[in-house]
């Protein structure tokens, strides 16, 4: 008897399955750990473009100097570094002209810190928009990375100016190396590591504001732990300090970048692989945490 009943029920279930309709949107409390809906991101491509445009256009509205500020900031920073680290502290620049050496480090560092800092307050600065409308949240941090890249390109022109000027000056000999072909890889890595950390930190800050304070001086500290104002080669081989700085994944990207243009930097073969793996890991964790946070952050922010 029971068997018959079971079969009967199964038949019904089969019918029910056929009837199950296809839904375009299903909203449920929980979702998979790693959800990267690329199709949705592509559908919102126009929004990405609009956000990038907004970031670039509105920053220097109602300023007299306008986009010139993109140049002024790195020039002044370079001047301060030349004075403080070059002249007063007398730190080595690997025999390179000081402006070129510092500027090279500054623009690549600016790119990273721009990507990281701008993405790390995604939830805080966009809580009004996010609280009113749905679109793939990842669009916002991605747009910040792209506008960071555009800002980098503008500052890169400045760097090129100094670079070419000093190249034809007496007493300096430096030039590009074949590592220049790695430039796109380096820029992608730098942007992605900034994005990964940014995603991680914005998720944490959305509930616990404590991390906001950590970010402010954390970026400063990490800069000193990266070979920006000193060449990695100037550190004593085998010293703890050098080991620590080599463990910083940013160090290798920066050194490869410097080597590509200046031909003088300490590059380690496994360095770029280490940085690459690290970037993928951070980005992966960042996206997981970001996805989990975006679902409910409106309630906790």
């Amino acid at each position: 008897m029971e068997n018959v009943k079971c079969i009967f029920e199964n038949k019904n279930m089969g019918k029910g399955l056929n009837k199950i309709e296809s839904w375009d949107v299903v909203i449920k409390p929980k979702s998979s750990w790693f959800k990267l809906n690329l199709r949705e991101l592509i559908r919102y491509y126009d929004l990405l473009v609009m956000f990038i445009k907004r970031d670039i256009v509105t920053v220097y509205k109602q300023t007299v100097l306008g986009p010139l500020w993109y140049f002024i900031q790195p020039i002044l920073t370079t001047a301060v570094y030349i004075l403080v680290f070059g002249k007063i502290a007398g730190m080595s620049t690997d025999g390179l002209p000081k402006p070129v050496f510092y500027l090279c480090g500054i623009i690549i560092w600016n790119y990273f810190s721009e990507c990281f800092i701008k993405t790390s307050d995604t939830f805080l600065t966009n809580q009004n928009i996010f609280g009113k409308i749905y679109f793939p949240r990842l669009i916002v941090p991605i747009s910040k990375v792209v506008s960071g890249l555009i800002k980098f390109c503008i500052q890169f022109i400045l760097f090129l100016g100094f670079y070419l000027y000093y190249m034809f000056q007496e007493g300096y000999s430096y030039g590009p190396t074949w590592y220049l072909v790695l430039l796109p890889v380096l820029l992608v890595l730098m942007g992605m590591v900034g994005l990964g950390f940014g995603l991680l930190f914005t998720s944490l800050t959305s509930k616990y504001r404590d991390f906001k304070f950590l970010i402010q001086f954390g970026v400063q500290l990490v800069m000193y732990a990266s070979p920006i104002i000193y060449p990695l080669g100037s550190l004593e081989d085998g010293s703890t300090l050098k080991t620590v700085i080599s463990l910083n994944p940013l160090s290798h990207i920066i050194e490869y970048f410097k080597y590509a243009f200046l031909g003088k930097a300490e590059i380690i073969d496994w360095g770029i692989w280490y940085s690459g793996l690290f970037t993928i890991l951070v980005l992966f964790i960042g996206i997981i945490v970001f996805n989990r946070t975006e679902k409910n952050f409106v309630d906790t922010i």
């Binding site: 309709e21 296809s22 839904w23 375009d24 949107v25 299903v26 909203i27 449920k28 409390p29 559908r43 919102y44 126009d46 929004l47 473009v49 609009m50 445009k53 907004r54 256009v57 509105t58 509205k61 109602q62 009004n128 928009i129 996010f130 609280g131 009113k132 409308i133 749905y134 679109f135 509930k207 616990y208 679902k295 409910n296 409106v298 309630d299 906790t300």
Partner: protein, 434 residues
């Protein structure tokens, strides 16, 4: 039969009460530990019902609890309920702004939400740029916006200011621009939250008309939340009433509005209500309402009131302050929630009890042959010294007026105008007729 385009099943949302502090970190850790062991969320069991007037007993509250409903294609569903009943939470869940604690929402087609107009518009950018930006945020492609650009400008009525930064716009103009973009959005499901409250009368009319077109012509589904009963009534065919996070009623719009406005009445006798001192809605440190009632003169409470009956409305309250004059004012609203009239005891010139405290009764006689056969709602306001409002209770009372000589329960018709007073009419022949 029309297709179901939105299906909400067992939808619940738990919110934390109070501030985020050290306590929440331990809660987060506990919850994480429970999830690791594969156990149920330890805090979901203790949520209390969403009643904002009651004391907070637990740390968590169910803003929504076990709600089920379906919406068919082309339907305009109204969502009504008091402040804090869970309307906005429901919209937020459907528009994917936050995710449910339990249950699911399934939808066919694109969902676009208009919880605010002009979301993401940037004050430094021009109107033209903002149309593209806002459109993109709402999910339109650049091509779509370009093809509708002229219509959008025309709808917003701001062609002159196209290349002016948005920060120079008045707030009304910003709303127009924002709504214009949203109006040309073509989602299968549109969610609208009281965005019509701003903007001038002409624009509101335009906006409501546009929403009607969207649902009728385009066959799109609209979910509409509003406190304005007349716009709900004119727009929606069906409505759900939310109360304390749960759906109390789901059905025909007039019936829903009726349920909403008479929420909390007992035994179907709406015309007389008593209140206890614990009720925070009807008492405060100045005054406590004891009872309010309306009846036909010479009849009892609950007996039918006809057009030709004189009505007596009595308010009984306890005055807790001495040396002030307290007055009561009633506002009477029609079926759709439109204000019809207001009258207050402030018109009494000498009130000799101003120095004392104690129970006071105000009575007002409403004339016969004044109200039409319809439903009416009363707001009660208590004023201090004819200036400051001490207490305001909206929809404290509901009453129905029946046509002449009709027994209770027989009248089912609908009236066109809420008031039909018998003014003094005369006639005289002014022309020699041949």
């Amino acid at each position: 039969m029309k297709e179901t385009v939105l299906k909400v099943e067992n939808l619940s949302k738990l919110y934390r009460l109070g501030e985020i502090g050290t306590g929440t970190l331990s809660h987060d850790l506990n919850r994480f530990w429970a999830r690791v062991r594969g156990k149920e969320d330890p805090y979901s069991l203790v949520g209390q019902v969403n009643d904002r007037t009651s004391e907070a007993k637990q740390d968590y509250v169910w803003a929504l609890k076990d709600n089920n409903f379906e919406v068919k294609q082309g339907e305009v569903l109204g969502i009504i309920g008091k402040n804090g009943a869970g309307k906005s939470t429901l919209l937020k869940l459907i528009s994917q702004i936050t995710s449910p604690t339990e249950g699911s929402i399934k939808a066919k087609g694109r969902i676009a939400s208009l919880l605010e107009v002009g979301t993401g518009m940037h004050p430094e950018m021009t109107a033209r740029e903002n149309i593209y930006l806002n459109g993109a945020i709402l999910g339109m492609s650049k091509k779509e916006i370009s093809s509708k650009f002229d219509e959008i400008i025309e709808f917003a009525g701001c062609k002159l200011y196209m290349d002016t930064p948005l920060k120079r716009f008045s707030s009304g103009m910003r709303v127009r621009l924002g709504f214009a973009v949203a109006a040309f959005l073509e989602p299968e499901i549109l969610i609208v939250d009281e965005v019509l409250a701003v903007g001038d009368a002409e624009f509101q009319k335009k906006a409501i008309g546009k929403m009607k077109d969207v649902s009728r012509g385009g066959g799109r589904t609209v979910l509409f939340v509003s406190h304005n009963m007349s716009s709900v009534k004119s727009l929606c065919s069906r409505a759900i009433v939310l109360e304390h996070g749960q759906i109390r009623f789901d059905g025909e719009v007039n019936e829903a509005i009726h349920r909403y406005l008479t929420e909390g009445s007992v035994d179907g006798v709406y015309e007389y209500k008593e209140f206890s001192g614990d009720d925070k809605n009807t008492s405060n440190e100045f005054v406590q309402i004891n009872s309010i009632g309306i009846k036909a003169v010479g009849k009892h409470y609950g007996e039918p009131m006809n057009i030709n009956n004189e009505l007596s409305l009595v308010i009984d309250y306890t005055k807790k302050l001495s040396d002030v004059r307290l007055d009561t004012t009633i506002q009477i609203k029609g079926e759709g929630g439109n204000y019809l009239l207001a009258s207050g005891s402030g018109s009494i010139d000498d009130m000799d009890n101003t120095t004392q405290t104690g129970r006071i009764r105000h009575q007002v006689i409403l004339p016969s042959n004044f109200f039409n056969a319809s439903s009416f709602y009363v707001n009660l306001l208590v004023n201090q010294n004819r200036k400051k409002i001490n207490l305001r209770v909206d929809d404290i009372l509901k009453f129905d007026i029946l046509p002449k000589e009709t027994a209770l329960g027989q009248y089912m018709g609908k009236s066109q105008v809420p008031l039909r007073p018998e003014f003094k009419w005369t006639y005289a022949q002014t022309d020699e007729l041949t």
